[in-house]
């Protein structure tokens, strides 16, 4: 028996993290591509200042987020799984054109579909580390504190940094496009604002939440529903 319940999937911190990160990534991309010479909408020195401060802020945010992920156990949501992977991939390649429904509904243990989980995981363990590590090295060198890094050429650091930035742009494009699929664009953004989304709960999970964490379940979703709608 399963129950589709509107419950809080994105905690307050998670939402704060997501949106602050969005703003900072925008600032970083804008100023970063100015430094790279892609546009000249602001002065190079302003771009450097903006980029440096935004970078320091986002690294602090990531430090908090990492702490949060591990202390809350939320990191488990990002562990890759093969369950439903094929069906979700098949949906994007084929099913979506045939008008099929998305095969995945969030569960209590899995708020991301398996493709999302892999994508976010890669972002967190490959792309973001690539950008913050190369960025930190670059920052240290340009602040004259990088003598111990003298063996590392700035050319390669810059290349890794730029490649990671381009990957983030790519991620962003796909990320936004994904929001247009399924029921509605707003419907996809809303959970990241309110925190609430439909989740497929087992009877036990529902009973537990009703008993102990009532505040993360929407009142009106309390009546048990049949998942085979």
């Amino acid at each position: 028996m399963s129950n589709i319940v509107k419950m809080q999937v994105y905690k307050l911190f998670e939402r704060f993290w997501h949106w602050l990160q969005t703003v900072l990534i925008f600032i970083l991309l804008f100023s970063g591509f100015r430094i790279h010479g892609t546009h000249e909408l602001i002065s190079f020195s302003d771009a450097t200042t903006l980029h440096t401060w935004a970078a320091i802020l986002i690294m602090m945010l990531w430090a908090f987020a990492t702490f949060w992920l591990f202390t809350t156990g939320e990191w488990r949501h990002y562990v890759p799984t093969r369950e439903n992977l094929i069906s979700v991939a098949r949906f994007y390649i084929l099913g979506i054109f045939k008008g099929e429904h998305h095969p995945y509904i969030k569960t209590y243990r899995r708020k991301h579909n398996p493709l999302q989980a892999i994508a976010y995981m890669m972002l967190k363990i490959v792309i973001f580390p690539a950008i913050w590590m190369s960025g930190t090295i670059y920052l240290l060198i340009s602040f004259g504190l990088g003598d111990f890094l003298s063996g590392v050429g700035t050319v390669w650091i810059a290349r890794i940094h730029t490649l990671a930035a381009v990957s983030i742009v790519g991620f962003f494009i796909v990320h936004i496009y994904m929001l247009t699929m399924g029921h509605s664009f707003i419907g996809h953004i809303k959970p990241m604002i309110t925190g609430f989304d439909d989740v497929d709960l087992t009877d036990e999970q529902l009973a537990y939440l009703q008993a102990d964490e009532l505040d993360i379940i929407k009142e009106n979703s309390q009546p048990l529903q049949d998942a085979t709608h």
Partner: protein
């Protein structure tokens, strides 16, 4: 209507006539003016301004513990320079020994790193070519008396010229020590007689007027040689030189060129380009003329990101690179090209000058001189930039080169990105087409000055002047000469701009920026890695295309399904 049109036509005709008459008159007028103006000149001097003018304008307040005007021995009478020097040496009894080690006296320098024998007494440059053998003229800037040829007695202390550096009346001057050819006779005429006693009593610490009289006119005229040392520095506006301007720090030369025992910091042969000591510990005396010796190695305020970033540049970029964005400022141009090939043209059988370059201060500079050839100038000139480790290598009179090379570097320098002691440094580059020994593939000495048949300045004959120049200096000469192109490089240190006029990031961090020609560097924003950028664009637009394609197929499929329903 018809009448009106007719009127218009005649009106235009009238206008046209008036304009042509005015234009005609204007051209006639300029021809007349040109005829009257002294385009035909004889002589060498290009001294438009002089230290004398400046000294009279700025009477000095002395803080010396000695009033030299009350010293008995300085009451004279003196009739020659050496007599004054003798009087100086009676009290300053160590100075002679000290000064004789000074390059201003020796004109001789043994390079500590390259081992090369350098100095004015031997070097070939790409201005007037060589001082050696032409001392009669060139020794006006020797800090001694009676240097008439290269056999000067360097051990005679009485030949030291104390006054050229220490007099403060502005009335002292030097003239050629030997007679030149008649083509040069009207130089230095109408000068008042030197009042030796008065001048001797005026001695003080060297002011910029003392140094400037030689160093601002190196190469035979105002700012000819260096580009960053001109008569403008006698009294520069703030934007020309923040250190030397009265509206800035009002420094004299010796404020930075410090020293002891009559030897000063600051050498072009061996420079300190990467001063990591900076200011040193409080109270520590540094005999260094580097920017860092006052400003430290991290001079930018660290309260902003940019300040920190700029400090992060100081280990690779010389202060001068950003803070001297232009040279030959303030209205006095510098010479950038000299072509000896056209030397010797005569007008009505006489030597002449054409002054067809008008510089910022309104003075006309010679673009052609019979005695020198064709000359080109530049003002507010952007320096060239290169990696520099401070060590200069010279093509000396005995260096052989390959004449097939497109040009010969009179001096060249080492330095690279890989060398942690090198920094990106600004230079003035001088180009010249000058004679060389075609048989031996070496540079040559020329006999320029003298009242004889071989002096170039008078006879305008390269063959004779080279033959004589090589012979009198015992340099091997094949007897054959040709012309070769040369470059010389002058490190730039003066004419530091106020900070608001320093370079900004985007002067280099931009495509085609000031140092875009330097290789092996990653300069953000300078558009290196062009190929990678294209790959990035393809990746981003590919992703965009991918999702758009997916979206289009999706909507087509949806529409088709709806229609089928």
């Amino acid at each position: 209507m018809k009448k009106y049109r007719y009127y218009t036509k005649s009106h235009y005709l009238l206008k046209l006539m008036i304009i042509s008459i005015i234009t005609g008159l204007f051209f006639m007028g300029t021809l007349v003016i040109a005829d009257q103006s002294p385009t035909l000149e004889v002589g060498i001097s290009e001294y438009a301004k002089s230290s004398q003018d400046q000294s009279r304008k700025t009477p000095k307040k002395s803080h010396s513990t000695t009033d030299h005007s009350s010293i008995e021995k300085l009451q004279g009478p003196f009739t020659t320079g050496p007599e004054v020097t003798k009087a100086c040496l009676e009290c300053h009894n160590e100075v002679g020994r000290q000064f004789m080690k000074n390059i201003h006296w020796t004109w001789d320098y043994k390079h500590p790193k390259t081992g090369q024998h350098l100095g004015k007494s031997v070097l070939v440059n790409n201005y007037c070519i060589n001082a050696r053998g032409n001392e009669g003229m060139c020794a006006q800037c020797h800090a001694g008396y009676n240097m008439t040829n290269s056999d000067f007695d360097f051990s005679n202390q009485e030949n030291i010229d104390c006054l050229i550096c220490h007099e403060s009346t502005g009335t002292y001057y030097k003239t050629p020590t030997t007679k030149g050819n008649k083509a040069c006779v009207n130089m230095f005429k109408d000068k008042p007689e030197i009042e030796w006693a008065k001048i001797a009593q005026s001695v003080a610490l060297p002011s910029r007027n003392n140094c400037g009289v030689c160093h601002f006119f190196g190469g035979g005229g105002d700012n000819v040689k260096h580009g960053d040392l001109s008569s403008v520095l006698f009294d520069p506006p703030r934007d020309v030189d923040i250190h030397m301007s009265a509206e800035g720090e009002n420094f004299t030369c010796v404020t930075c060129h410090v020293g002891e025992g009559h030897e000063w910091a600051g050498s072009r042969y061996e420079m300190l380009v990467n001063d990591t000591v900076g200011m040193g510990k409080p109270g520590m005396v540094r005999k260094t003329a580097s920017c860092e010796s006052c400003h430290g190695a991290s001079p930018h305020p660290i309260k902003t990101v940019n300040g920190m970033k700029l400090n992060g540049h100081t280990d690779r970029v010389a202060c001068e690179t950003c803070h001297i964005p232009e040279i030959a400022k303030g209205g006095v141009a510098t010479k950038i090209d000299w072509d000896w090939r056209s030397m010797g043209q005569l007008k009505n059988g006489k030597s002449f000058k054409l002054k067809e370059y008008t510089q910022g201060d309104g003075q006309h500079r010679a673009t052609y001189k019979t005695i020198k050839g064709s000359l080109s100038y530049a003002e507010n000139l952007q320096p060239m930039y290169a990696w520099f480790d401070g060590t200069m290598h010279y093509t000396t009179i005995d260096s052989q080169f390959d004449p097939a090379l497109s040009s010969i570097n009179i001096n060249s320098f080492s330095g690279s990105r890989e060398d942690p002691n090198s920094r990106i440094y600004p230079f003035k580059r001088m180009h010249m087409t000058q004679p060389y020994d075609k048989g031996n593939n070496t540079l040559i000495y020329m006999h320029l000055w003298g009242d004889d048949d071989n002096a170039l300045w008078g006879n305008f004959d390269f063959s004779k002047a080279i033959q004589a120049g090589m012979e009198e200096n015992n340099a091997p000469y094949s007897g054959e000469w040709g012309f070769i192109e040369t470059y010389s490089y002058w490190p730039i240190n003066h004419m530091v701009a106020p900070k608001e006029e320093a370079l900004v990031c985007a002067d280099c961090h931009v495509k085609g920026g000031r140092i875009s020609h330097l290789t092996g560097l990653y300069i953000p924003g300078a558009g290196g890695d062009q190929l990678l950028d294209y790959i990035y664009y393809i990746a981003i637009f590919g992703t965009l295309g991918g999702v758009l394609g997916h979206g289009v197929i999706k909507s087509i499929a949806t529409n088709r399904r709806k229609n089928n329903v």
